[in-house]
């Protein structure tokens, strides 16, 4: 059982041009910083990226937008990125906007081997165009398909050599579902530990889903909106 690789560059070495990549994170919270940096270094092109957001101009997936490595973006919200807007309006970037719950669940279903399911989100809106509509118990639903990826990349707080992962606070977000939806799943972790160090009752992603794992470095963990309360409140 050899899943540990040296670093992000080794982990993503075989990602080809035109690959479909899913990346964990919500905004900049819990994104696979090391993998994104390595993808930028490698210069792999024409990527289809699936992630809830597209980073900001100079961090997260914004880095791969700056270098024009992304051909198509599938996301639920991309409002924090001016370069994204420019590429979208100029036609350089293809975008598929998906309701957040539908996106999360389509990814989850891929990891569960369920090819299609029904959700009410988007019924009666432009999102329903071209989709099968069906009533269950007098409520209308859209049929949505599972969403897979060639490579799934996530960042966890702790992980062991067998690929078991534990997340911290709201970094779990899309990452646990994404980790299960990749043909090849790569996990970068803040703390790489030995099998047995993680409590088997507390593992968020079992190692069976994870193909490569490495100890990440230099986490910036940039904060998008630093909000504080006054001492009085």
């Amino acid at each position: 059982m050899q899943k540990v690789v040296a670093n992000a560059d080794a982990a993503i070495a075989d990602v080809p041009d035109n690959a479909t990549i899913m990346l964990g994170g919500f905004g900049l919270c819990g994104i696979p910083e090391n993998c994104i940096a390595a993808l930028a270094r490698k210069g792999v092109k024409d990527l289809t990226c699936i992630s809830n957001n597209a980073g900001v101009d100079n961090f997260g997936l914004g880095l791969l937008l700056q270098t024009r490595q992304i051909k198509k973006m599938m996301a639920s919200y991309v409002g924090e990125n001016a370069e994204f807007e420019r590429q979208l309006l100029s036609g350089e970037l293809e975008v598929d906007l998906i309701p957040q719950g539908t996106l999360a669940t389509r990814i989850q279903m891929a990891g569960m081997g369920i090819p299609a399911f029904y959700t009410p989100a988007g019924y009666g809106t432009e999102i329903a165009n071209g989709k099968e509509v069906r009533a269950f118990n007098n409520k209308m639903y859209l049929m949505e398909y599972a969403l897979h990826a060639d490579f799934a990349m996530v960042k966890a707080w702790k992980g062991d050599r067998y690929g078991n992962l534990v997340f911290r606070k709201t970094t779990r977000n899309f990452s646990t579902s994404i980790a299960k939806a990749g043909t090849i799943t790569i996990a970068e972790v803040e703390h790489l530990v030995e099998p047995g160090e993680l409590d088997p009752d507390h593992i968020h992603v079992a190692g069976i889903y994870v193909h490569r794992i490495f100890q990440g470095t230099n986490y910036e963990k940039r904060i998008e909106k630093r909000t504080v309360r006054m001492n009085g409140k």
Partner: protein
């Protein structure tokens, strides 16, 4: 003058009941958290994976691993729980969230809502709004009664791309509280302090139903 955004938030807070699970959208809805009545336990859900979201952190407690759906740094209360996005929208879709409060650009008299896209302008994406409005048991819209040009946002039919259909139950605006009737139409429930029925009528383009004396809101 009608209510300011704090007044709208205060009025919405009167809808809360002890033990409710509530999802508050970005903007005015977020302010509702500041007016939870004393002694009430309200569990705030943030769709990126929190139940029991607490207030913003003090400076020393800021944690980049703990943000809300608006990407702001937050805290979690004792008894809170973290989970993933799929689970979060699962509980939303299953109707486990008792109340959803969100903003809108337009609401129609049959309860349709438009709040995610203005064609021709930048499209930022719908985020979780479509999932929330398609599934929430009870949806209250918090918004100004008119847009910056003074045009009514309560319409016979939405002109902007829809977020969801026949889902809004109640609107709390700067001028009034209105219910969307199952058969269609805005039923006037309360007036904002100092606002006349006449002004509300003038600023409501969709069908407005007024029955008997309309009480004034009591906002403290």
């Amino acid at each position: 003058m009608g209510l300011d955004k704090y007044g709208i938030a205060k009025r919405i807070a009167q809808e809360l009941q002890d033990g409710m699970y509530v999802n508050l959208g970005i903007g005015i809805p977020t302010l509702v958290a500041n007016y939870i009545p004393e002694g009430m336990t309200i569990m705030l859900q943030s769709e990126n994976g929190i139940l029991g979201m607490g207030p913003y952190p003090v400076e020393s407690a800021i944690d980049p691993d703990l943000i809300n759906a608006g990407k702001e740094t937050v805290t979690v209360i004792p008894g809170g729980a973290f989970f993933d996005s799929a689970e979060s929208f699962g509980m939303i879709r299953a109707g486990k969230v008792d109340l959803t409060v969100l903003g809108a650009m337009e609401v129609s008299e049959n309860g349709d809502i438009a709040n995610w896209k203005i064609p021709g302008k930048m499209v930022k994406g719908m985020g979780g709004a479509m999932d929330l409005v398609a599934s929430a048991k009870n949806i209250i819209v918090a918004m100004m009664h008119t847009n910056p040009k003074g045009e009514s946002k309560l319409l016979p039919a939405c002109t902007l791309p829809l977020t969801g259909v026949k889902c809004v139950k109640r609107i709390v605006s700067d001028l009034a509280v209105l219910d969307v009737l199952p058969e269609g139409g805005f039923k006037l429930i309360e007036r904002a302090p100092g606002i006349t029925v006449e002004e509300i009528r003038n600023k409501t383009l969709g069908k407005l139903m007024i029955e008997g004396e309309i009480p004034e809101m009591s906002i403290n």
